[in-house]
């Protein structure tokens, strides 16, 4: 055990001191924080250039529809022609010329916006919106309804669907599907990414020892199994440290940026919107519906409804067990070859379940309680990813316990087999072994 510790120490220290580790550890949070802050910052930027738009109105509707706003002024020029306005475009410092066609059968024949530079989409939308409202209003007026204005204001309404879940004690809790989905995607993907990245790191480490020929020196001092476990655990420590630093640094950078850059209320409003925009991309949902329950006043409630302790604890457990399971397989593959190009075929049986896991995970974001999601989160090889995608939505304790228990048991079995492959593999030089040969190593060692 003492020797395993010396190995863990070396594996950990040599990796943590590498420039690449320091770079990814410190740059990723900056990138993440930027990813969170830049959209917020951009959202706070307004188009504050003053725009003067000349309007030639043939319909007679525009004067009441188009209202000047802070940065846009509409000047009605009934006397001037389009050509003369175009000619004096520069002198008059115009942004655009809006020509509205005549009204025929209660529809506008044409609306054209002339400009020398590409017009702002916002401007275009606000004109469309204003004119559409005015035309609709005009049509309604044809019915001669008394007190139309009052009716129109009184029928405006807003519908939000709140999802509420209750537990076995009858305690009710609001659920925020969009937010949960965001967290589910983030944690499912993160587990996938961690298993793959650090599993590969283990494999490369073993290959390095083999191709360097240091393996033979090492195995005369320590048992191959100690060597394998030392490497796997040392790299696990690297992963955990990196993860912890990422969380701390990202939170730190966001906190500092909040103080320095933008006012807090806007950030608070924007934060869930980030998670939300991610989930929207996956679900293809309607933005208006999504944002409706993400008003700033709801943020505290949303944050309260998320069980961060449960998510973090299960993330750590699934990361560790999932990583241990796959890392020992990666170590076994590494032990069988002498350079990385030879790994492709042997790595396939490892990558297939991982890829399968990530496919099920994508399904789980939308259907956290389907049969596929359930079995995917119980079966050991896919459970780390799939279960992490389910946890934010709430998972019964017995399912978590079953899934973790099976994962731990499988890990023990897989490590035992991987240890056997490793034991034989590390001292074999020459041609890359076939699956048949590896099977013989397992049976005979």
């Amino acid at each position: 055990m003492n020797k395993t510790f010396i190995i863990i120490e070396r594996e950990f220290l040599t990796r943590v001191r590498k420039k690449s580790f320091l770079l990814t550890t410190f740059l990723t949070p900056i990138a993440l924080a930027a990813l969170m802050l830049i959209p917020t910052y951009i959202a706070t930027l307004k188009d504050n250039e003053h725009k003067e738009i000349a309007v030639i109105d043939h319909s007679g509707l525009a004067s009441s529809a188009l209202e000047n706003s802070e940065y846009t002024t509409y000047t009605f020029e009934p006397a001037k022609s389009l050509d003369s306005l175009k000619k004096n475009f520069k002198q008059q410092n115009l942004y655009a010329v809006l020509e509205i066609g005549q009204l025929q059968n209660n529809e506008l024949t044409s609306v054209n916006l002339y400009a020398q530079t590409q017009t702002n989409l916002d401007v275009q939308h606000s004109i469309e919106q204003a004119l559409r409202n005015e035309v609709e209003r005009h049509k309604l007026e044809q019915y001669n309804i008394a007190g139309l204005d009052t009716i129109l204001t009184s029928i405006k309404s807003n519908v939000n669907v709140s999802t509420i879940m209750w537990d076995e004690y009858g305690k009710e809790k609001r659920s925020y599907t969009g937010v949960y989905m965001g967290i589910a995607i983030a944690s499912g993907m993160l587990i996938y990414f961690f298993i793959f990245m650090f599993g590969n790191m283990v494999m490369r480490g073993v290959i390095e020892e083999k191709s360097n020929r240091i393996m033979e020196v090492l195995v005369s001092s320590v048992k191959p199994f100690e060597l394998m476990m030392g490497k796997i655990l040392g790299i696990a420590a690297v992963g955990l440290l990196q993860f912890a630093l990422w969380i701390l640094l990202t939170l730190g950078i966001v906190a500092i940026a909040q103080l320095l850059l933008v006012n807090p209320a806007e950030i608070m409003a924007a934060k869930p919107a980030i998670a939300d925009s991610v989930s929207m991309m996956a679900a293809g949902g309607d933005p208006a519906q999504m944002t409706s329950h993400l008003l700033p006043s709801n943020v505290a409630d949303i944050l309260n409804s998320i069980n961060f302790t449960a998510i973090l604890t299960s993330f750590l457990l699934y990361f560790l067990l999932g990583y241990l399971l796959y890392a020992s397989l990666f170590a076994a593959v590494g032990s069988a070859v002498e350079n990385e190009t030879d790994t492709q075929q042997l790595v396939l049986p490892i990558t297939v379940p991982i890829i399968l896991g990530i496919f099920i995970t994508m399904h789980t974001f939308n259907y956290p309680n389907s049969a596929l999601s359930f079995w995917g989160s119980i079966i050991p090889f896919t459970s780390p990813m799939v279960m992490m995608a389910r946890v934010p939505f709430g998972v019964p304790l017995w399912q978590l316990a079953l899934s973790l228990g099976l994962l731990a048991l499988t890990f023990v079995g897989v490590v035992w087999v991987a240890g056997k492959i490793y034991h034989t593999g590390v001292l074999m030089y020459g041609k890359r072994p076939s699956f048949k040969e590896i099977w013989r190593w397992i049976r005979h060692s």
């Binding site: 020892e209 240091i214 020196v217 090492l218």
Partner: protein, 303 residues
Amino acid sequence: MSALLSAENIVKKYANHLALDNVSVSVEQGCIHGLLGPNGAGKTTLIRIINQITALDSGQVWFDGRPIQPKDVQKIGYLPEERGLYKKMQVGEQAVYLARLKGLSHHDAVAQLKIWFDKFGIGSWWNRKVEELSKGMAQKVQFIVTILHRPKLLIFDEPFSGFDPVNANLLKQEILALKDQGSTIIFSTHNMASVEELCDYITLINKSKNILSGATDEVRRKHGSNVVEIGYTNKSIELQPLLPEGYTFVSEEQKGGIRLAKVACSSSSDCNVLLQKIMSQVEVKSYNEIIPSMNDIFIKMVS
């Protein structure tokens, strides 16, 4: 004298072939024991079994008078033929790591390594990366790490490969010094000249079997073909007709005014008879029993 290590009736089967077929080797305390054999004979397998890297199928390895135990690896220093270091690690740090894996404390490892590094003239390389070392320097580091924990048994597999003659000689002196300090050494090599120079005992393994073992001198003498070389000066008299019964003339050559005749004896016991007979006729300058080199024995036994 007693055996520090003895391997008895070792059998090791791999899937397709028998790597060791009932091999027994006994390594005397305080001696250098040469382990010889062509490539693929089973030497490395035997060494790995002694190091407990590979499990044996049947047989028994005894160490220090009792069956070998896992913790005995601390008392063995092994310099494998296929040896390397972590390229990206610093030389000193790497050496300390390997020494700690052999059971030395961090403090002891650093203190002793500093002494050895200075002795081998690589002290200034402590903080450099391994990849900056020349092959010879890396070999020195590996040699130091192998012997640092003062093991009772040292196993060197082709220790001189990659060394220039000056450094090979330095290493040879160190190996002999280790022997003088009481270390027992197993020495595996294809360089037969160094076997004659260093080894007290040899074991020759061929095709998974121990085909020859014993003290180096005895082995060589035993394989002598009872040929003697007589140097004499006489211009007119030929040696051939003078030979008594039981002696046959093999060849003769001229070297710097001395005639060197090779004569085969039927039995080496009565060489005095031969000498008496010819001394009256010619002036004898030298008389040598011709002992075959290890190289000759190796080739004769293996082919």
